[in-house]
C-alpha cells in the first residue's frame, strides 16, 4: 500500500534539490528577510487580524448552536436506549428516538467529514467574499465535530442521578437540565474551548479561499511575491494563535481544576 502510495504521490526527493527548487527557496528566504515591519503595513493588517479573531469566535458560537441540539439527539442514552426508555413502547422508541438519532448522527458525520476549506469555498461561491462564509464554514464543520464529541461526553455521564430524576417524575428536559448538563458541563466547555483554539488557526487559513481574515492577506502577498509581507503575516498569525492558546488554556485549567 505504501509503495503504491509513494508512486501515486509522485514522491521524488531529487525534485527538492533541483536548481530551480533551491533557487525558489532562496528567493523566498531572501525576499522574506527582513520581514516588512513598516507601520503602514502593520496598520493595514490590524483589521484582518481582528477579523480572524471575530470569525473564530462567531464560527465557534455557530458550531455550538449546531452541535448542541444535534449532539443531544445523537446521544443514545438520551434518545432511545438505556434506563430512561425502559418502559416506553418499542414503536414509540423507534419513531421518536431512534429515527432522529440516526438522522442526527448522519448529519454530524457529513458536516465534519467535509473539510472546512471545502465548506468555505462553497460558501464563498454562495454568499460572496468576506468573513461570512468563513463563519459558516467553521460553524458547520466544527458543529459536526462538537456534536459528535458532545454526544460521547453525554453518553459517558454517570447514569444514576438521571435515573433518580427520572424516577422522581422529571420530564426529558428536566433530566437534561438537572442531571445531564451539570455533570457534563466542564467537559463540554473544555472541549468547546479547545475547538476555539483550532478555529483561530482555521479562520486564519480559510482566507486563502477568500473567506476573510489574515489568510486572504497571505494569499495576496504570496501571489504578488511579497515574501517580506508573508513572513510578517506568519509572525502575526503565530502571535494570535499563541494568545488564543494561552487564554483558552487558562480557562480550561480553571474548569478542570
Amino acid at each position: 500500500m505504501l509503495a503504491g502510495s509513494l508512486y501515486t504521490a509522485q514522491v521524488d526527493p531529487r525534485r527538492l534539490f533541483e536548481g530551480h527548487a533551491l533557487a525558489n527557496a532562496g528567493r523566498f528566504l531572501r525576499g522574506g528577510f527582513p520581514p516588512d515591519l513598516s507601520t503602514e503595513f502593520l496598520g493595514q493588517m490590524i483589521r484582518p487580524a481582528l477579523e480572524t479573531i471575530q470569525i473564530s469566535v462567531v464560527g465557534t458560537l455557530l458550531a455550538v448552536l449546531i452541535g448542541l441540539p444535534l449532539g443531544l439527539l445523537a446521544t443514545s442514552s438520551l434518545a432511545w436506549s438505556g434506563i430512561l426508555h425502559e418502559r416506553r413502547a418499542a414503536a414509540g422508541r423507534w419513531l421518536l428516538g431512534f429515527l432522529p438519532y440516526v438522522v442526527a448522527r448522519g448529519l454530524l458525520s457529513v458536516f465534519r467529514s467535509v473539510p472546512e476549506y471545502v465548506w468555505a469555498f462553497m460558501f464563498v461561491r454562495a454568499v460572496g467574499l468576506g468573513p461570512f462564509p468563513g463563519v459558516l464554514a467553521i460553524g458547520i464543520a466544527y458543529g459536526g465535530m462538537l456534536g459528535k464529541v458532545y454526544s460521547e461526553i453525554l453518553e459517558g455521564v454517570n447514569p444514576r442521578p438521571l435515573e433518580t430524576l427520572h424516577a422522581g417524575g422529571a420530564s426529558k428536559l428536566g433530566v437534561v437540565l438537572y442531571g445531564l448538563l451539570p455533570q457534563a458541563l466542564p467537559s463540554l466547555v473544555s472541549y468547546t474551548l479547545y475547538r476555539w483554539e483550532c478555529a483561530i488557526r482555521a479562520s486564519a487559513i480559510l482566507g486563502l479561499v477568500g473567506a476573510g481574515g489574515l489568510g486572504q492577506q497571505i494569499e495576496l502577498s504570496m501571489r504578488f511575491f511579497e515574501f517580506d509581507e508573508v513572513v510578517t503575516l506568519l509572525g502575526l498569525l503565530f502571535c494570535l494563535v499563541g494568545a488564543v492558546d494561552l487564554i483558552s488554556g487558562r480557562l480550561r485549567a480553571r474548569l478542570t481544576r
Binding site: 501515486t8 504521490a9 509522485q10 473564530s56 448538563l181 451539570p182 488557526r201
Partner: protein
C-alpha cells in the same frame, strides 16, 4: 463544575444556576463571563453575520435551494473516474505524508526529550559536565524551536511554499503534510518519552546497560503504543487535510474541487464531496482497526 464560573453561559444558555461558593470566586467568574460575552458581541457585530436571518425561514430556504442544486450527483463514467483518481491521490498523499512525518518526528523527539539529554534517572550518578550540559540544553532548545516552527505553519501554507519550490502536483502536498505533522508528532513523541515510567529504566541501568540499549529495552517499548496511536490519529487528520491541499495546487481531490466550484459544476462537486466522505470514512475505519490490532 465549580459554581460561579458561568462563563460558558453564553454558549449554553440552559445552564442551571448554582449558588456561588465564595464571593471572590464569584467575582472572577463574573469577570470572565462578562469578558466572554463582550468578545462574542464584538465579534458578532464585526463579522456582520446575521444568525437570526440565517436560521430564519428565508435563510433556511436559500440553503435548501443551494443544497438542492447539488443533487443529483454526477455519476457519469468520466466524473466517477476523475473522482476515483483524485481519491486515490488524496489517500496516497495522506499516507506518505504521515509516514514521512513520523520519520521527521522520531529523531527530533529524541532531541527534545530532556530525560535523554541531561536530566533525570539516567544522569543521576554522573551528570554531564557543565560545558556538555550547556551544549545539550542548546540542542534541546534548538530542536524544540524547529518543531515549533514546523508545527505553527499550517499545512496549506507549507503547501503554498512547496508548490512554489517544486511545482504543481501531489509531491508538494506530501511535503506539506510531512513538515506540519512532523512538528506536531515530534512535540507529542517528545512528551511521551519524557513521561515513561522511570522504574524499569533504573532497573536496566542497574544491569550496566548503556543509554542506547536502555532506550531499546526500556523506553521505546513503553512509548511505542502511544507513538502508534498518535501517528494514526494524525493520519485521520491528514486525510482531511490532503483533501484540501489541492486548493493551492498540491494535487488530490482538492484540486478537482477547486475546478468544479470555480466552474459552477454543482453535480460534479457533489460527486467529489461524496468521494471525500468515502475516503475520510475509510481512513477512520482503517485507523481504528490498526489501533485495535497494534495498541
Amino acid at each position: 463544575m465549580s459554581p460561579g464560573r458561568s462563563g460558558e453561559a453564553t454558549t449554553t444558555p440552559e445552564t442551571p444556576t448554582v449558588p456561588p461558593r465564595t464571593r471572590g470566586h464569584d467575582r472572577r467568574g463574573w469577570l470572565v463571563s462578562a469578558g466572554i460575552v463582550a468578545l462574542v458581541v464584538w465579534s458578532y457585530r464585526g463579522t456582520g453575520v446575521d444568525l437570526g436571518q440565517l436560521i430564519g425561514p428565508e435563510g433556511l430556504r436559500q440553503i435548501a435551494v443551494y443544497v438542492g442544486g447539488l443533487f443529483p450527483p454526477d455519476l457519469s463514467w468520466a466524473a466517477l473516474r476523475d473522482a476515483g483518481i483524485g481519491a486515490v491521490e488524496t489517500f496516497a498523499i495522506s499516507l506518505v505524508g504521515s509516514v514521512l512525518a513520523v520519520g521527521i518526528a522520531l529523531p527530533l523527539s529524541l532531541l527534545t526529550a530532556r530525560t535523554l539529554l541531561y536530566h533525570g534517572v539516567l544522569f543521576e550518578v554522573r551528570p554531564p559536565a557543565p560545558g556538555a550540559r550547556a551544549l545539550r540544553i542548546g540542542i534541546y532548545a534548538g530542536a524544540k524551536a524547529l518543531l515549533n516552527l514546523l508545527r505553527t505553519i499550517p499545512e496549506i501554507l507549507w503547501a503554498l511554499i512547496f508548490v512554489f519550490m517544486v511545482g504543481l502536483g501531489p509531491f508538494p502536498g506530501v511535503l506539506a503534510l510531512a513538515f506540519h505533522t512532523g512538528g506536531v508528532l515530534g512535540k507529542l513523541f517528545g512528551e511521551v518519552i519524557e513521561d515513561v515510567d522511570p522504574r524499569p529504566i533504573e532497573a536496566l541501568q542497574a544491569t550496566g546497560a548503556g543509554r542506547l540499549r536502555i532506550m531499546l529495552y526500556g523506553i521505546l517499548p513503553q512509548a511505542a503504543p502511544q507513538f502508534v496511536s498518535y501517528a494514526l490519529y494524525r493520519w485521520e487528520v491528514n486525510i482531511r487535510a490532503a483533501a484540501v491541499l489541492g486548493f493551492v495546487g498540491a494535487g488530490g481531490l482538492g484540486q478537482r474541487i477547486h475546478v468544479t466550484i470555480s466552474l459552477f459544476l454543482e453535480h460534479q462537486l457533489l460527486t467529489l464531496i461524496l468521494a471525500i466522505y468515502a475516503m475520510v470514512t475509510l481512513v477512520d475505519a482503517l485507523s481504528a482497526y490498526l489501533r485495535r490490532r497494534l495498541v
